[in-house]
């Protein structure tokens, strides 16, 4: 029986010209020698994979900054993947790109690679915000990158914004959103700035040199993002992701949220089989060294219990406009969420936090407090 073509392939490119102070991904500064070594190792890892039961119809180059590598290197990686895995001929390919790397030649290269969705790390159109975030492009470069990417004819051009910066005035955020909406990309991701442990921002916060916005202020900005994008015709299909049409959504990322299997290759990449999750070595030396020694660079794995899968299904489902499939939750995991939480859910519906119509969906107000909603629900699984 031929496998259903549904799985996603994630390929991690860890390099950045400089590491942003808020980033907690597996990244390191670009250097020619280590890039060459990494590409060889990634190809080596792909050659060791044996995922015969999976067929892939989406591929995602994430990072770091995939645009830090030459298109030829990315192509070699793709070739290696295609050589080893069952990847659909016309698989949907997405790629993260930094504005400063966008040039007509680069865009041509990515088009040739078969990129369907180009995701641009614009982050803001305010000079001082970009400097605070440690970005290396200017507002003008951000704007130019979006325009040129749109002109180049990708199926989907997406731009990322970061909001909730310390001291951020709603007016400045609104300005960035409006500028982006004017440029009219098909897809927008809006992430609230999160201070992760181990990042320079976290260190600064511990020293009292970085004051995060209060919860109420963050809520205000969050609302602003959602109302502004919604009125511009972008619908939130996930807590932080907006698209004008269904075709404009990130086909790959949606797989993370409905427990579709995905395979990750590269530094610190995570994989999921539907039941098991495993992840790669996050240390560059260790990762390359192990692959060079002919060994898979695995760092850990977990087998998910039904209770854990059910909790994830609730947590991920409530982050999406599609909501949570209550019937599936009941038949697969034996969790009757409505019955167990009747009064609470009624209250959420009354308060305009949720909609219950066979599925349980959070409204845009509900999205803002999705974590608290998940915490409050009793799954009866402990």
């Amino acid at each position: 029986m031929s496998p259903a073509a549904a799985a996603g392939l994630y390929l991690h490119i860890p390099f950045c010209s400089a590491v942003c102070p808020y980033c907690d991904f597996a990244v390191l500064p670009t250097a020619a020698a280590s890039s060459r070594r990494y590409v060889r190792a990634l190809i080596g890892e792909l050659a060791m994979l044996a995922e015969e039961e999976l067929a892939f119809d989406t591929i995602y180059f994430g990072g770091g900054t995939p645009s830090a590598l030459a298109a030829a290197d990315l192509d070699a990686v793709l070739e290696a993947a295609r050589g080893r895995l069952a990847i659909e001929e016309d698989a949907w390919l997405a790629m993260e790109v930094n504005p400063e790397d966008v040039s007509p030649a680069a865009l041509d290269g990515w088009r040739e690679l078969g990129v369907s969705m180009l995701s641009l790390g614009v982050q803001s159109f305010q000079e001082e915000e970009l400097r605070f975030l440690g970005r290396r492009h200017s507002p003008a470069e951000g704007e130019r990158a979006v325009r040129e990417a749109l002109k180049a004819g990708f199926d989907v051009v997406s731009a990322d914004l970061i909001f909730g910066l310390p001291g951020q005035e709603p007016g400045r955020l609104l300005d960035s959103i409006r500028k982006l909406v004017e440029l009219d990309p098909q897809h927008i991701s809006c992430y609230q700035l999160t201070v992760h442990e181990g990042t320079p921002f976290h260190h600064r916060r511990l020293q009292g040199r970085l004051l995060e916005l209060g919860e109420s202020r963050q809520g205000e900005l969050y609302e602003l993002v959602h109302t502004e994008l919604s009125s511009a015709g972008y619908s939130a299909y996930e807590v932080s992701n907006f698209a004008k049409t269904k075709a404009g959504r990130s086909r790959h990322n949606q797989k993370y949220w409905d427990h579709t299997p995905y395979l990750g290759a590269g530094l610190a990449a995570h994989s999921f089989s539907g039941r098991r999750r495993w992840w790669n070595e996050p240390d560059f030396e260790e990762y390359c060294g192990r692959v060079e020694g002919g060994e898979r660079p695995l760092a850990g794995s977990e087998e998910l219990s039904d209770a854990e899968l059910a909790l994830e299904a609730v947590m991920l489902g409530l982050r999406r406009s599609a909501g949570l499939d209550l019937e599936r939750l009941r038949t697969v995991y034996g969790v009757n969420l409505l019955e167990r939480n009747a009064a609470l859910i009624e209250r959420y519906v009354e308060d305009g936090v949720a909609v219950a119509d066979g599925r349980l969906r959070l409204t845009s107000r509900g999205f803002a407090v999705a974590d608290a909603v998940v915490r409050s629900l009793d799954l009866g699984l402990d």
Binding site: E215, H270, F272, E312, A343, V369, S376
Partner: protein, 556 residues
């Protein structure tokens, strides 16, 4: 008890018999009883004093004369005991013997030149104390031939031997094998063992007239005897019991719940065991919608409550939640029926209440003069009546006030300590029950009544108390996904209100590949943490909230 050593207080009476060869060459047998000094245990002090001919009145060389020193002096005088004042702990760096001597003169009316200066720790003045017992206190009287009459002034529980009664023989003799009768309970027992308490029990076979010692008579539990009862012979009973018998009755009530409801069984066992040693403790089963099963406990006072709580936590490893302490109210219903209420849950509807009476005390507060204004004001705020003051000496004042016991229970100690910067001492005696205007204040969280937080409060104070509760709850209950109104109500009328605003923002920004495991583990942990919360409707109330409402503001 470790607790006694740590706090430097006596909770249970103890007794020791020692042989002492005095300066005159004679060997004397001294029977000494150590009593608590705190007002909560005044029934024990009373019984101990009843068993004695004289008393050493210990005054701490650094603390000086306190309100409870005066109270205990009066008790001793009531029993016409001879007194020897002793200034103890003179080794302390803060000892101020001159000041304390003045206080003994002015506050107690005793001759300071008769006071012995002593440091038991450094063995200074101990011989003088023993000589004073021999020389200045009368020997016991009593008739060795008369029918046995002995006061049971305390009891201990021994897990192998059962009840060990501590007795003072007034007339007659106690012998091993003798059949004795406890005059108030009427029960007969056979003496299995009798003797003196030295550092350990020393069985002697007999206890003669005037002697202080212990009796074991096959009694299983403390509940089977009454402390203060008179022991006599079954064959030849005494005509009259020793007068002055009073049962120690609880005056303060609180509901005690285990932090986690599965520990209810352990709490039951722990209370049963404590009760073996602490006859004054009472408890009956209660249940709360928010806190589950627990016990309504009766205590002799706040210190007693504190000690019981601490013993349950330390000796039995319990983790507890206590409701606000309350007194017992005497309610007369409109149909004329009387009703005693010590639990807000059982307070009748306002329409059924004809009148309510509450217990009053006479408070005695000793302070340096400069705090007089503040303390008088404090007494007024605590609904004190007939507040008066007397100069004890230059710069020292005793304030007396008749006030409801209920006022002492809420925040009196903390506030007294604050307004007198720790220099005030306080003691009280029970007076009587007086008419009062009590209302039941309910606390509603998200429109649901939290039964464990209901209280009985004087009408004039209801609003302030309700606000205090609303404030504390709004500070300790975390934000939820919805607004939570917190209201104080009397019979459905809202008298205080606070609102906990809903979260505006609580969602993780990114949730891709590797984030999912991290996020799930965090959620899992948070969900487990939630199990420690008490659920009232759909609101999670942390345990701290129940503790915080009982705490008062340090500064007003």
């Amino acid at each position: 008890m470790d607790l006694e050593r740590e706090r430097g207080i006596t909770i249970k009476s103890n007794t020791v018999t020692l042989e002492y060869t005095a300066a005159d060459g004679e060997t004397y047998q001294l029977n000494l009883i150590d009593t608590p000094g705190h007002v909560d245990f005044s029934h024990e002090v009373r019984r101990s004093l009843m068993s004695c001919e004289g008393a050493l009145l210990l005054v701490d060389a650094s603390q000086g004369v306190e309100a409870q020193t005066v109270a205990n002096l009066y008790l001793a005088m009531e029993y016409e005991l001879d007194l020897v004042p002793v200034i103890n702990k003179i080794d302390l760096p803060a000892a101020d013997i001159d000041r304390v001597s003045e206080e003994i003169d002015a506050d107690l009316g005793l001759d300071p030149f008769e006071a012995i200066q002593c440091s038991a720790k450094n063995n200074v003045g101990v011989d003088e104390v023993l000589e004073a017992i021999v020389g200045r206190l009368p020997p016991p009287g009593g008739d060795p031939e008369a029918p046995l009459k002995a006061l049971v002034f305390d009891a201990q529980y021994d897990k192998y031997r059962g009840v060990v009664m501590l007795v003072r023989v007034q007339d007659g003799v106690i012998r091993k094998g003798q059949s004795i009768r406890l005059m108030h309970t009427g029960a007969d027992h056979v003496v299995e063992e009798v003797g003196y308490l030295k550092l350990e029990k020393v069985a002697t076979g007999t206890l003669a007239t005037g002697g202080v010692g212990y009796v074991i008579a096959g009694i299983k539990t403390i509940q089977d005897i009454n402390i203060g009862d008179t022991m006599t012979e079954t064959e030849r009973p005494a005509q009259e019991p020793i007068p002055g018998y009073r049962e120690a009755k609880p005056v303060v009530y609180s509901s005690v719940y285990p932090m986690s409801s599965e520990d209810y069984g352990d709490l039951t066992k722990a209370l049963d065991k404590l009760k073996l040693n602490d006859a004054a403790l009472t408890f009956t089963k209660v249940s709360s919608a928010a806190l589950g099963f627990g016990f309504r406990c009766g205590f002799l006072g706040l210190l007693h409550l504190d000690i019981v709580q601490e013993r349950l936590e330390r000796e039995f490893g319990m983790s507890l939640l206590l409701s606000a302490p309350t007194v017992q109210y005497d309610v007369t219903l409109t149909n004329g029926e009387p009703l005693e209420v010590d639990n807000p849950s059982f307070f009748p509807d306002a329409g059924d209440v004809e009148c309510v009476e509450e217990p009053y005390i006479k408070a005695s507060i000793m302070i340096p003069e400069k705090f007089l204004g503040a303390v008088m004001e404090l007494c007024r705020e605590q609904r004190g009546e007939k507040t008066q003051f007397d100069y004890l000496a230059v710069g020292r004042v005793e304030v007396t006030s008749e006030m409801p016991l209920a006022e002492v229970l809420f925040d009196f100690y903390d506030r007294l300590k604050t307004v007198t910067r720790g220099y005030g001492s306080f003691d009280y005696e029970a007076l009587d029950y007086r008419k009062t205007d009590i209302v039941k204040v309910d606390i509603m969280v998200n429109k649901e009544r939290v039964d464990a937080l209901s209280q009985l409060v004087h009408r004039d104070k209801a609003r302030a108390r309700a606000l205090h509760y609303c404030d504390k709850l709004s500070e300790t209950i975390p934000k939820h996904q919805f607004k939570i109104p917190i209201q104080g109500t009397i019979g459905g009328t809202i008298i205080a209100r606070k609102t906990i605003n809903a979260f505006r923002k609580d969602v993780t920004a990114k949730c891709y590949g590797g984030d999912i495991t991290r996020k799930r583990k965090l959620l899992d942990k948070q969900k487990k943490g939630k199990q420690k919360m008490k659920m009232v409707g759909s609101v999670e109330i942390p345990q701290e909230a129940f503790i915080a409402v009982l705490k008062t503001e340090k500064e007003k």
